[in-house]
Symmetry: C2
Subunit: 248 residues, 2 copies
């Protein structure tokens, strides 16, 4: 199996928007979820930025990643309150207008009981011109896609539902396969062998992750490749090196 | 109490380095920890970037945040293996050389038994010219500071120990005080009142964080200010608004 990097590699950037993550008050759960989700469908997450609820910071991060990646995802800042400024920032990043979107208004109107679609809730229907809506199966107020940017909610359950709605529309790349080898050795004892195996196997990425448990260090070696035959060859080489280092 | 923003606000950026976070294989624990740690000592974390083990990506992120923030912290990529390229990337970002540092070599020599300071382990003593070492109370191999950039390990226990070593050297700002108000209301019902309170209280930041629990939405309102009197006034206004919305 040969791979054409131009055709087969699909990349993504993720912008997490919210003062609450930067202050430590809320612990992010979306980065790990999105990373695993994208890896599973063959999209490489290549950069994440966490930015505050400040329009120019959102614009800058979205523009930078939008130019560099096949897709950008954002989470946070699309609710009904004054600090939800993501939709306006995205409109500015794309140089388009923003207004109440009739499709989004209709979704909210169908959801809220008569008389309860307040001005604040209507704010959630403000969508940049030219954007497509992203369905929200949990709490209805939609996300949206404009250009290669997918704007999602920050509440993990809602973000996950939106991601499920988006997934079928994404071009996915050649899946990255991985093999993990747990070695009861500190990584400094493995380092020489891993470097040799890495040098001998272009097309394979070998990562080495130290772990500490009660002061005892062990290592997880992760071998990654798009080509399964290459992966197996490199994995066998790593296992042989570990066994030989552990041999009495 | 009046505040001089030029003097009293200290900011930080954080660069998390590692393919394993971007692939989702390892779930980051350092962002939340550092965010809380810095908030507690009066430093505002203003941006986080997660970048892969690719030198130019590390250089770009470190340079961007180093120009913008009082301090930059990095985690990951300073171990003994071939994929640990952070020290070289930082040297390149600062345009300085890098070599085995005699102070770092001495620390490793004192730690490893005779004959066990292999070439791979010695790699952990490669430190950019002009850098100061950061003590590692857990596994000895030091981090380092160069300019306003603090380079730490990625293993959470080691990063936390290094952060404790760094903390006394940091200039800290006027602490940001917070008050949290839990409201058993969806945030869309609170939005109008919060916007009015925000508009009436410059110097205070009001954040609103929706929560979903079994399909039921509630909201945590977080009021933040450097001035405690201002904080209390705004907090009282939020509590009064919540009470009046909940009144039968």
């Amino acid at each position: 199996m040969t791979t054409d990097p131009q055709r087969d590699i699909v990349t993504a950037g993720f912008v997490v928007i919210g003062d609450e993550i930067l202050s430590g008050r809320t612990k992010d759960k979306n980065i790990g979820y999105l990373a695993e989700f994208l890896t599973a469908i063959g999209i490489d997450l290549v950069e994440v930025r966490v930015v505050p609820d400040v329009e120019e910071r959102i614009v800058e991060a979205v523009r930078a990643l939008s130019e560099r990646c096949t897709y950008v995802f954002t989470s946070g800042g699309i609710g009904p309150t004054h600090d939800d400024i993501t939709a306006d920032a995205i409109a500015r990043a794309f140089g388009v207008g923003i207004d109440h979107d009739p499709r989004a208004v209709a979704i909210l109107r169908a959801f809220y009981p008569e008389g309860q679609l307040t001005e604040a809730r209507l704010r959630m229907a403000r969508i940049p011109h030219g954007a497509e809506l992203i369905e929200n199966a949990v709490s209805r107020a939609p996300g949206f896609r404009i250009g290669n940017v997918h704007v999602m909610a920050g509440v993990p359950a809602v973000m996950q539902a939106m991601l499920d709605a988006i997934a079928p529309t994404l071009k996915t790349g050649l899946k990255m396969h991985t093999a993990a080898i747990d070695a009861d050795l500190p990584e400094s004892r493995l380092a020489g062998a891993l470097r040799e195996i890495q040098d001998a196997h272009p097309g394979v990425m070998i990562g080495s992750y130290p772990r500490s448990n009660d002061g005892r260090f062990s290592t997880q070696v992760v071998v990654r490749a798009r080509d399964t035959a290459l992966l197996e060859t490199a994995e066998r080489a790593v296992r042989a090196a570990v066994d030989s280092l552990l041999a009495p």
